[in-house]
């Protein structure tokens, strides 16, 4: 018999017991659906975590001052500034794995437009900061190094500021007062939405760091009261950049070997990776549990195939009498198990995809349909059909034709 004829005979046999076939398949449907939904949600979660960290900055390291150890009295983290503006140049010049460096100085101010005011965070930095965070202007432009060096009173604002102070109108060229200092708005940043902690990325005003120090921090001292944002040359280089930055800073801070760092370097890329990995672990675990139900589904198929072989003993005898060889009967029952299981796999695929997209809308995160896992799940369920169908099929093929023909159902 040709494979196609075999499959047709199998489908016909299964259609004779539609409800039973459907119920048999249910276990596999649930198993496959669960595997696919779990992996889809897990990959969605992973991408979300990755996206969140990517939004914070490209290959980002954040250097902040650590507690200062003065004669045994230790202040808390960031209590005093140990970082200097010279450190930025040292890092830029001496750490080869670093691409961009910029200070991040921040303070809360009351910002006033023509007739509105709004409490917001002002960030003082240099133009490289925009590169580090991949921030671009949608209207106007970002300020340049000359503006920073000259201490220009210019500001780049986020969309929330545009909404709150200017009612959504383009504010480029307008004056915004920070504290009591007037700044000219030169650019508006592209909308970015919320940070993972619910912080509004658009509620920002960025001004040159030199201006920030002179007008808002009240002095141009060399100590940097804020943090340094560092971007590594590539995602793979973040660890190298981290150790280079640590080395450079220790050298310039003249720390002895037995002294602790007076700064802290946080590798956000690594943190993101760790987060992704923990999501992966959970995904794998859930998928493994789901796979167990696939196995249970396989046992269901085996059970029904065994029942089917007994019920159809007479049919087996008839087929043998008219020339079916043992292998033909084995293949026929295997084909039935295979069709059952593969059908379950396909239905499960649909149900899983549906479940994943339903959950996606509910949780509001993008679910990634795992086409590789889907293909694998259908293949595996087919394999389960063959594996668990093998014993019943062999049983059918070993029947003695005379006994089978005499069998009374």
């Amino acid at each position: 018999m040709s494979p196609w004829a075999t499959i047709k005979v199998a489908i016909k046999a299964l259609l004779r017991n539609k409800l039973r076939s459907l119920l048999t398949v249910l276990g596999i449907v649930i198993g496959v659906a669960a595997v696919i939904a779990m992996v889809a949600i897990g990959q969605g979660a992973r991408n979300r975590v990755k996206g969140v960290f990517e939004a914070m900055g490209t290959n980002l390291l954040v250097v902040s001052p650590a507690s200062q150890n003065t004669g045994g009295v230790r202040g808390g983290g960031g209590t005093a500034s140990t970082l200097t503006f010279s450190d930025i140049d040292f890092i830029r010049n001496e750490a080869s794995a670093v691409r961009w460096v910029a200070p991040q100085l921040q303070t809360k101010v009351q910002a006033a437009g023509d007739d509105q005011n709004w409490n917001t965070q002002v960030t003082g930095t240099t133009p490289e900061y925009f590169q580090i965070r991949s921030w671009a202007a949608t209207s106007g432009q970002l300020f340049d190094d000359a503006a920073d060096a000259g201490g220009a009173k210019v500001a780049v604002v986020g969309n929330t500021i545009v909404q709150q102070l200017y009612g959504g109108a383009n504010p480029v060229g307008q004056t915004v007062r920070l504290g009591n200092v007037p700044f000219t708005i030169v650019g508006v940043l592209a909308v970015k939405g919320q940070s993972p902690m619910g912080q509004d990325y658009d509620d920002v005003i960025i001004i040159p760091s030199r201006t920030f120090r002179a007008k808002l921090q009240g002095g141009l001292g060399n100590f940097l009261r804020g943090s340094i944002y560092v971007s590594a040359v590539s995602a793979d280089a973040t660890a190298l950049a981290e150790s280079q930055v640590t080395e450079v800073l220790r050298a310039h801070h003249k720390l002895k070997d037995d002294e602790e760092d007076d700064f802290r370097v946080r590798n956000l890329a690594e943190f993101a990776e760790a987060q992704s990995q923990s999501t992966d672990t959970i995904t794998t675990l859930l998928a493994a549990i789901a796979a167990v139900s696939l196995l249970v589904g396989g046992i269901g198929v085996m059970n029904i195939m065994l029942v089917s072989v007994v019920e159809r003993t007479r049919e087996i005898g008839i087929r043998m009498a008219v020339g079916a060889r043992p292998i033909d009967l084995m293949v026929q029952f295997l084909a039935e198990a295979l069709v059952l299981a593969a059908l379950g796999g396909l239905i499960g695929l649909g149900v899983g995809a549906l479940a994943a997209s339903t959950l996606a809308t509910k949780f509001g995160w993008a679910v990634v349909f795992p086409s590789d896992v889907a293909a694998l799940a259908v293949l595996v369920s087919g394999g389960i059909g063959v594996t668990f169908g093998l014993y019943p099929a062999v049983k059918a093929s070993r029947l003695d034709p005379i006994t089978a023909l005499r069998f009374e159902a």
């Binding site: 018999m1 040709s2 005979v9 004779r16 008839i318 009498a321 020339g323 043992p326």
Partner: protein
């Protein structure tokens, strides 16, 4: 009654072409039931020439079905040899026996043994399916076989939509669709009334007329007389083997011949 030995057939000719279609020599069949051995056949020899019709009779338990199963290659003898169309089939594997059945033998059973919930034409197609005949040819030949037994208008009927006689005719169509050399019928009329029995026997005679060897088991002397030869078994042995002019099955339905 003539003893079996008295009409010993001529010595076997060399070469398959002229060999008897069935050539059984001193065959025994012992069933082992726990510690008990049941001797169903105790040394049976039988030759049947191509195109013969032979009825096997005997009391219940005399070994008729056992002999039929051996002839039909559903079973293997415990000892002795069986040559089917010149080929020794007494030691073949299950797979090889299946092929021999598919190619050379058609079965008709007392209880019809049709696949339930399966149309007449699909039932008749079954032997061709396992012989590897393609879908289109299968259908054509199955329809032709059903027309031959007068069921051309019942192709899509399932067994439970057919009378007993019609079911047996479907079974006969199935037996002849693969153009076998032998048709074996174990009490083909056992479940039928006398009128339908004659119909079925008329069809068997039509097969014989086409050169097919027909072996049938029956309890009824009326049915046996439609065969040209009657073999009687008793306790697993042949006690008589007679030939006579067969009675023609009248009440002939439209069997093309």
């Amino acid at each position: 009654m003539v003893a079996a030995a008295a009409i010993a057939p001529p010595a076997p000719a060399i070469g398959a072409a002229s060999a008897p279609v069935i050539e059984i020599e001193d065959v025994t069949r012992v069933y082992h039931l726990g510690d008990v051995d049941v001797h169903a056949l105790r040394g049976v020899s039988l030759r049947v020439e191509r195109g013969e019709s032979i009825a096997i009779m005997g009391a219940s338990g005399s070994g008729k079905s056992t002999l039929m199963n051996l002839i039909g290659c559903l079973d293997r003898p415990t000892s002795g040899t069986y040559r089917l169309a010149g080929k020794d089939v007494s030691r073949l594997s299950a797979s090889e026996l299946a092929r021999v059945r598919g190619e050379r033998i058609g079965f008709v059973f007392q209880n019809f043994n049709l696949l339930a919930r399966t149309s007449a034409v699909e039932n008749v197609e079954l032997p061709l399916l396992y012989a590897g005949v393609g879908g289109h040819e299968r259908r054509t030949r199955a329809i032709a076989a059903l027309e031959q037994v007068g069921l051309g208008s019942r192709l899509d009927h399932t067994p439970n939509q057919l009378s007993g006689g019609q079911q047996q005719r479907v079974a006969i169509a199935r037996a002849l669709v693969s153009q076998p050399e032998i048709v074996l019928a174990d009490e083909p009329t056992g479940n039928l009334d006398s009128r339908t029995s004659v119909e079925v026997m008329a069809m068997m005679q039509a097969l014989v007329a086409k050169g097919i060897t027909v072996v049938l088991v029956t309890h009824e002397p009326d049915i046996a007389q439609y065969a040209a030869r009657v073999l009687t078994l008793k306790d697993g042995k042949v006690v008589s083997d007679t030939r006579h002019e067969p009675v023609r099955a009248v009440l002939e339905p439209e069997v093309a011949s």
